[in-house]
Each structure stands twice: as C-alpha cells, then as structure tokens.
C-alpha cells in the first residue's frame, strides 16, 4: 500500500532521517513512537509529500516517486499533488479552514479536487460528520468548536477524500486531556473498519491497543519494530527500554 525506501533527509546540516525503509500493508494500523526530535513527524509528513526527501523512493499504491539530490522536486509538483489526495493527513493543530463551516471543511476537497456534484458532496459530508459524532455541528465555524470537535472535523475532512490511507500526526497532542478520549475513539472505530492508518502518537496505551505494528524511532533511525505486545513487553534495544520506562505508569 505505502512503501518507503532508503529515505534520507537533512534540514540544513542536521540529518533527520538516516536511511529509513518500511512498508504499510492494506488495512494495517502502524503506530510510530519515539522521543521528540527522532524524525517521526518528518517521516509521516513525507508520506504526504509535505516534506520532500533528499534521497529515496516513496511508493503509494504502486505509483512510484523517486527522489534524489540532483533533481529536487518541489512539494507543489503536479505529480505529487495528484498522489496526495489518495493519502489524507490529520494534523496536530487541526488546521481546519477557519473561513469555512465544519461542513464546508469536509466538502471542500470533494467538490474542488474530486469534482463531485455539490448536493452529493453535502450529503456525503453530513454522513462523515455524523460518523465522527458531530451531527448538528455542520454550520459551526472552527472557532466555535472545542479542540476535540475540531480534530473530529479534521478526521471527517480526511475521510471525505475517500483516501486509501490516513496519516495522523500526533492527533491528540494539542488537546486538553479530557478531550483526548473522544478523538481516540473515532480513530479506533476507523481501525476496526479496516482503514489503513499510520499514526504518530505519544499515547502509549492507545498505541498498544489499536496498533497492528509499532515502530520505534530514535535519532533518525528505525530502532525496533514489531507487534505491540512484543515492542511494549519485550523490548530488545536499550534505547526502547529507556524510552518506555518513562511511560511505565501509562502502559
């Protein structure tokens, strides 16, 4: 479904990703954990081409894009733009379109990118809002919604593109603790329905619960990966043990 091969990325002099390869299968939920600065968000953003790798390949649903230092692609590249709509992204800070209502946010991509008829897009958009538990909030603007509600609108917006996979970049990190649950519940529901997802998170309990596979990143490398039970209960590397010990009360 998504394949990442030999990805390298530096910002200025700092190497953020040092030769990363992994793949995500259809219907799989992959959770990426790791200390801040380990490159996990950068990796996720690359799968949506919001960051452009210096080197390597990204294959999405058998469409392959090759990156090298000589011919740098821009993230505004036409080929890249068309690939992006197949893999949706949910951001840490929601990034809802502030000038549009909840429904307006959800239908924007269907109408402008998918060229869907307006009535159909609205009908479908209402269904997605209902799915994330926001019935009756269609006409509210983002500034009238709570953080948890905003993030659920963002998830509905991602779903409306009928993507092959959804990427979550720390979806609950900007939320008040009491609002985390409602967002995680929605993601869990999607996991049960078989949606392919890659989730960067600090919610270890959640990672263990919904992840089919957990990837632990540190210092720009994938240090360890495997089923959640193994990664959380029998970590092999020292670094993962150290990292997990800080969450011991949570897991």
């Amino acid at each position: 479904m998504i394949q990442v091969k030999d990805i390298k990325k530096s910002f200025h002099q700092t190497e953020v990703l040092k030769n990363i390869s992994f793949q995500v299968e259809q219907g799989e939920v992959v959770v990426i954990i790791g200390p801040s600065g380990s490159g996990k968000s950068t990796l996720l953003r690359m799968m949506n081409f919001l960051e452009i790798p210096d080197e390597g390949q990204i294959i999405i649903d058998s469409k392959k894009i090759h990156f090298d230092r000589k011919r740098r692609k821009h993230r505004n590249d036409a080929e890249i733009c068309s690939l992006r709509s197949d893999v949706s992204m949910v951001f840490q800070n929601f990034n809802l379109f502030e000038h549009k209502t909840a429904l307006g946010n959800v239908i924007e991509g269907s109408i402008m990118v998918r060229k869907m008829a307006k009535e159909k897009a609205i009908h479908q958009g209402k269904e997605f809002l209902q799915k994330v538990g926001l019935e009756g909030k269609e006409n509210n603007y983002p500034h009238e919604l709570s953080g948890g509600q905003k993030q659920r609108v963002a998830i509905a917006r991602a779903l409306a593109m009928r993507p092959k996979a959804i990427l979550f970049d720390e979806p609950t990190s900007a939320l008040d603790p009491e609002l985390v649950g409602e967002v995680l519940a929605v993601i869990k529901k999607l996991a049960e329905e078989g949606m392919t997802m890659v989730i960067v998170t600090h919610e270890m309990g959640f990672a263990k619960e919904v992840g089919d596979r957990v990837i632990f990143m540190d210092g720009g490398y994938i240090v360890e990966s495997g089923p959640p039970k193994k990664v959380f209960e029998n970590p092999e590397s020292e670094r993962l043990k150290q990292f997990l010990s800080r969450f011991s009360n949570v897991v």
Partner: protein, 218 residues
C-alpha cells in the same frame, strides 16, 4: 455665501475628476498589488527581484517626483501622455506598491498549516491560494487597504502639479483668479473631508467586526 455658491459648480466638476482618478487608480492598484505580492512570495528569483526593485523605487521616492517624472521625463523617451493618464499611471503604481506589501503581509499572516491542509486534500498551489489562503488573507487586510485608499484619495491632490483638473487644481485656479483664498481652500478641504468620511466609516466597521471575530476565536 453667494460667492461660495458661485465657486461650487467648478469645484464639484473637479471633485468628479478626483473621484474618477481615485477609483480608477485604486482598481488598477489592487490588480498590480496582488500580482506584485505573489511575485514577492514566489520562489522565482527573477519575479521576486523585479517586484522587490519596483516596491523599493516607489517607496523610496516621493510621489510628487514620480508624477513629475512620468509627465515630463517620459515624453523625452517618446512616451507622451495626457496629464490625466500620467496621474492615473503614477497613482496606480504608487498605490500598487503599498497594496503589494499589505497583501503580502496578509498572506504571510495565514499560518502555514492552512496551506498544508489544502495540500493534504490534494489541492495544488494556485487552488489552495484561491480557495483557502486568499479569502482569509483579504478579509484580514481589508482595514489596512481601506486606510491606504483614504491616503490615495488625498494623494490624488498631487496631480494638481501636472495640471490635472481635479479638485485641488480647480481650487488653485479659482484662487489665483479671484483671490478668495479663505472660501475656496476651506471648501476644498471640506469636500476632501466629505469624500473621505464614508471610507473611514467602512474601515471602522471592518475593524470592529474583525476584533469581534478574534475575540470569539480565543
């Protein structure tokens, strides 16, 4: 009182030219400003530099000099313009440079998350700008654009020096022939004030609405 009435028709004639000059140059300047703002934020080295030089020249020299230059120096290079056209071009270029900076600030004020979210649903740059960034940016910069338009209205009086028959020049002509300086220039000032007033109200209204908005947001 009677003398005032005798001056009014001529002054109102000049007022019409002032309004025409202001509105036309504002419209042209909005187009120039938007294009220049995009050139300024683009990654294209050439466009970026051209826009930068244009803004620098306009902001670094007095409008009076620019108007004189267009009207008196351009003909030396074979570009002959009527006084009105010269004033229109001068004011449009001048206002355009200032509006470009306002637009640029407006676009920059929209967080990069908005552009990323637009990209993430498959939009390309131009669609993201049109549908997501610009509607928000323009709403944010309406008050400064309004203020700039008021300045433009008053700056249009400088067209008097190249003999455009707008309000200021009409007033000057009347004054030199009748020596009724007090009445005439008071009338001219009052007319400018009346012209500015509705624009000022609109700007005020927009500013108030915006502060209400952001009050809700935080």
């Amino acid at each position: 009182m009677e003398t005032i009435l005798t001056f009014l028709p001529a002054l109102l004639q000049g007022t019409l030219i002032t309004i025409e000059l202001t509105l036309l140059s504002l419209i042209i300047a909005l187009v120039i400003g938007l294009i220049t703002a995009f050139a300024r934020i683009s990654n294209n080295f050439f466009f970026n530099k051209v826009a930068g030089v244009y803004i620098s020249i306009i902001r670094g020299t007095p409008l009076l000099v620019q108007l004189m230059y267009i009207y008196f120096v351009f003909p030396e290079f074979g570009i002959k313009l009527s006084a009105f056209s010269a004033a229109l071009i001068g004011l449009s270029l001048y206002e355009g440079a200032y509006l470009a900076e306002i637009f640029r600030a407006g676009i920059k004020s929209i967080g990069k998350g908005q552009l990323e979210a637009a990209y993430a649903i498959g939009m390309n740059y131009s669609m993201a700008m049109r549908r997501i960034i610009l509607p928000q940016a323009i709403k944010n910069v309406l008050p400064p654009i309004g203020n700039s338009a008021i300045l433009l209205l008053k700056n249009s009086s400088l067209a008097a020096v190249i003999a455009v028959n707008e309000l200021m020049h009409t007033g000057e002509n009347l004054a030199t022939t009748t020596f009724r300086n007090i009445e005439i220039f008071t009338l001219v000032a009052i007319i400018y004030w009346i012209l500015h007033y509705p624009m000022d109200r609109v700007v005020n209204l927009l500013e108030r609405r915006m502060s209400n908005d952001s009050g809700q947001r935080h």
